[in-house]
Every structure is written in structure tokens, then in C-alpha cells.
């Protein structure tokens, strides 16, 4: 298993963002659904080794991230796209991706090929030498994805990856996620249920810091057959599970 969480909890003062989550995940695309404030981003930050848990245990890629050496090893094999991508406006696309390739300790001789591969996979070739300040929101999102996959990660964490992408780009990105999920564990946090239905083999639904559903997208769809609100079957399943959790 690439991810093993046991009773993972994160508190901010009196607020509990993540409340006792237990989860395991191997290779594949894993969707993390939930309304705003459900704890998805906090959970993803813990998986990205940025945010330490308040309690519980966490193992990533067969390593314990509380140990500095192990954490460094995890980070070499980790890709992360935060919800709000910070970037350096004066960098070009290639410079930005290369910068993070170096910070991820990819051997320097392999960096140019890794950068070119990531840029091409995200269809940014024509904009490779463009300054980031000149790019649209959708393009910047793709730059973020490019830096996340530049080290060919075994664990890829994507927080709202399709935000700002147009429909054509979203379809292409779902194909990329499925491709990456062949060998890596891809965790996608989103509130767009159609992304989950199209790309994820498994899904967890979070509400108020807890995982209230875990199963396949079709199992989630089945939960909304008799009740639930939404235009699409998966949306009805999503709302039915949330209503039940809140009740």
C-alpha cells in the first residue's frame, strides 16, 4: 500500500479539520469528494508531508514521514499540486518546472528530459518559453500539474486539479490521470463529481473531517437511486450520502 492512514486527526485550535480518518490506497486514481470545509485539503497537506497530524499514524510509500530521512525519501517520490498554486511570475514554464525538478532532487543529468516530458504531457509545449505572468488560469493549472509529475511520482496528490480548465482540457487531464494511475497512487481532491466518475477507480466522500463513504463511483451512484438531489446520477449519490451523514 502506498498510503496507510490510521485514525488520522488534525486540529487547528478548537477546530477539528480531519477527525480520525482511516484509509489505505494502492496504485490507481482515488477521488476525494466533499463540500467546502470537509477537510479534504488538510488531509491532502498531511499526505504531502507539509502538515503534521495532531494524532494518529501515517505511512506513505512504506515510510514513516515523521523521520527526517524517510520524509526526504517520500518527498523525492511525491508530486503535489496545492489548491492555490503559488508561482514566480518572472519564470518561464520550463524554468518553473525545472526549479521544482531540482528541489525534488532529480539527478541533474535527467532533469532536461524529465522537464520536457512533463511539459509535453500537460500539452504546454507551445508555451514552454512563455513567462508565467502571461499565462491564463487554465494554463497555470497545467503548469502546476507539470511540476507535480516532473519526478514521475509514485504518489501524486492533486487538490482541485481541474479548476480553471476548459472542458477539452479537463477531458485530456482525466486521461492523463488514468494513465498516471496505472503505476502510481493518484489522490484527487475535488468537488466536481463528474471528474470522479470519469477518472477514479475508487472514491471517498468526506464530511466534517470524517470519511462518510468509501467505494467505487458506481456504488456511490447506487446510493442516490431512490433519493438525493442532483442532475447526474453520481451527484444524486453524493447528495444522498451527505444528507445521511448530516442526519
Amino acid at each position: 500500500m502506498n498510503i496507510e492512514l490510521s485514525d488520522l486527526t488534525r486540529k487547528f485550535g478548537r477546530n477539528t479539520a480531519v477527525a480520525g480518518v482511516t484509509l489505505e490506497a494502492g496504485p490507481g486514481v482515488f477521488g476525494l469528494l466533499g463540500p467546502n470545509g470537509a477537510g479534504k485539503t488538510s488531509l491532502l497537506r498531511m499526505l504531502a508531508t507539509i502538515l503534521p497530524p495532531s494524532s494518529g499514524s501515517l505511512r506513505l510509500l512504506d515510510n514513516d514521514p515523521t523521520r527526517p530521512t524517510a520524509r526526504r525519501e517520500i518527498r523525492r517520490r511525491l508530486g503535489y499540486l496545492p489548491q492555490n498554486l503559488g508561482y514566480y511570475p518572472s519564470f518561464t514554464v520550463v524554468e518553473f518546472v525545472e526549479y521544482f525538478a531540482l528541489l525534488k532532487e532529480i539527478p541533474p543529468a535527467r532533469v532536461p528530459k524529465a522537464v520536457a516530458t512533463a511539459v509535453e504531457r500537460t500539452d504546454l509545449g507551445p508555451k514552454a518559453k512563455a513567462k508565467l505572468r502571461t499565462l491564463s488560469g487554465g494554463m497555470l493549472r497545467r503548469v502546476g500539474i507539470a511540476q507535480a509529475i516532473v519526478n514521475d511520482p509514485e504518489l501524486l496528490l492533486l487538490d482541485e486539479p481541474t479548476a480553471g480548465l476548459d472542458p477539452e482540457q479537463r477531458v485530456a487531464f482525466r486521461a492523463l490521470m488514468r494513465d498516471l494511475g496505472q503505476t502510481a497512487t493518484v489522490i484527487v481532491s475535488t468537488h466536481l463529481v463528474e471528474d470522479v466518475g470519469a477518472a477514479c477507480s475508487e472514491v471517498a466522500l468526506m464530511s466534517e473531517g470524517k470519511v462518510v463513504f468509501r467505494g467505487t463511483p458506481s456504488e456511490l451512484t447506487a446510493r442516490g437511486e431512490s433519493h438525493g438531489v442532483g442532475d447526474a446520477p453520481l451527484e444524486r449519490g453524493y447528495s444522498a450520502v451527505l444528507q445521511a451523514a448530516r442526519a
Binding site: R71, R72, P82, G86, Y88, L103, V115
Partner: protein
């Protein structure tokens, strides 16, 4: 000319793109890689000034003004101002809300603490270069003999003040707090030492503001402050802390 069917054009193109887009590190970066034993750190170090262009401009302006003031009044304002400027630079060079890619950097194998330290080195280096350049200006004066010594001497108080600013910024998680603490500490130190200097040597007016720099008795305390603050930074940025 025909092409074999089994050629993977995507792979060929990626190899071509890798060559076309390859960035050759400059001599400075290659040297930094050798010294730091880390291409990532070297890149972070050399990237910092370009990320902090406004800070660089401010530093240059302050030092030029200091040089001009020094030339006019014989008062080494450069060395008085530089530590405060460096402290502000360090405080503003780190942290969420300051570095746009902070969160991404935190998830990388090269530790954010090491990136922070390389950025501190960048601030020191730039100030040292400016300081040395300023030292070379008053040619032919009696002060010239002492300028190099003084320039290096201000690196010590600068190290102490910057370390203090950094420690406060990291501990308080506020660049403003760090910058304020650094500048305030330096002003208090300069004023306190000048008062002590005037008491000790009545009538001495030439270097009324400079005992904090020129008095070698201060050097050991500066080093001690820098060491203590470095320990605070080390503790505050320990991996278990994370960000909120």
C-alpha cells in the same frame, strides 16, 4: 525519405525538446553546486535575487544614499543602515504569504529550512558586495585604510541582526514582526552604544554613531546573538511544526 513504422515520434520529440529547452547553468551556479553539493539549493540561492527584485532595488538605493551621505559628512551611514536593510530582506524572504511557492517548496526533498538558509546567504552576499563597493569610493582619504576592515566588521552585526529578524519572523510567523524586531534592535543598539561612547570619550564627534560597528568588544556578543537566534530558527522550523 521514409520513416520506419516503429519509431516513437513522441519520444523523439521529447528528446528534441529536452535539448532545445535545456538551460545551461552559469559559472556562478556551477560553483554554488560544487560548494553546496545540491543543484536544488544552488538554484534556490541564485534565484532569490531575481525573486526579490524590489528588495534588491531598495538595498541599492539605501546603500547609494549612505555612500553619498558618508562622502558629504564623513559619517559611515552605509554600515549603520546595511544591517537593518539586510534584516528586513531576510524577514521578507521567507514564509507563507511572502514566497508565492512556499507550500510547494515545503513538499520538496530539499528542505525548506535549507532554502531559507541559502536565501539568507544571498542577502548577506549582496549586501557584502554593495558594502565593499561602497568602501572603495572614498579613495585617498584617511578612512580608506579602515574601510575594508569596517566593511567586514559590519558583516558581524549584520549577521546578528539578520539572525534575530529571522528568528522572530519564523517564531511569530510574521515577516513584519521579524523586520520590525531586526530594525528596532539595531536602532536601540546603535543609540545605546553611541550614548555609552559619548560618555566614555567626551568631545568625540567624528564617529559618534559607530561604536556598535567599530568597537571590537561588540563582536563576541554579536556572534553569540547570531548563534542563539540560529538555534531558535532551527527549533521553530523543525519538520514537526508544519504550516497552518
Amino acid at each position: 525519405m521514409t520513416m520506419p513504422d516503429d519509431v516513437d515520434l513522441d519520444r523523439v520529440w521529447t528528446n528534441v525538446a529536452a535539448e532545445v529547452w535545456r538551460r545551461e547553468p552559469g559559472r556562478l551556479e556551477r560553483t554554488a553546486v560544487k560548494l553546496l553539493k545540491s543543484p536544488g539549493l544552488a538554484r534556490a540561492l541564485l534565484t532569490t535575487p531575481s525573486l526579490l527584485f524590489p528588495w534588491l532595488v531598495a538595498t541599492a538605493v539605501v546603500l547609494v544614499v549612505g555612500v553619498l551621505a558618508q562622502a558629504g559628512a564623513g559619517q559611515p551611514l552605509v554600515w549603520l543602515i546595511a544591517p537593518g536593510v539586510a534584516a528586513v530582506g531576510i524577514a521578507y524572504a521567507y514564509g507563507p504569504g511572502v514566497d508565492p511557492a512556499w507550500e510547494l517548496s515545503c513538499s520538496c526533498a530539499v528542505s525548506d529550512r535549507m532554502v531559507l538558509l541559502t536565501r539568507a546567504v544571498a542577502v548577506f552576499a549582496v549586501n557584502a558586495v554593495f558594502g565593499l563597493a561602497a568602501s572603495a569610493i572614498p579613495l585617498g582619504t584617511k578612512a580608506q585604510a579602515d574601510t575594508a576592515q569596517i566593511t567586514f566588521a559590519w558583516l558581524l552585526p549584520m549577521a546578528a541582526i539578520c539572525a534575530l529578524a529571522l528568528a522572530v519572523a519564523v517564531a511569530a510567523r510574521s515577516a513584519i514582526a521579524g523586520a520590525g524586531a531586526g530594525v528596532a534592535a539595531w536602532i536601540i543598539l546603535v543609540l545605546a552604544s553611541s550614548v555609552a561612547g559619548q560618555t566614555g570619550t567626551p568631545g568625540a564627534t567624528q564617529h559618534v554613531l559607530t561604536p556598535a560597528i567599530t568597537d571590537t568588544g561588540f563582536y563576541l556578543p554579536y556572534l553569540a546573538i547570531a548563534a542563539c537566534c540560529a538555534a531558535v530558527v532551527s527549533y521553530a522550523t523543525r519538520p514537526q511544526r508544519g504550516i497552518k
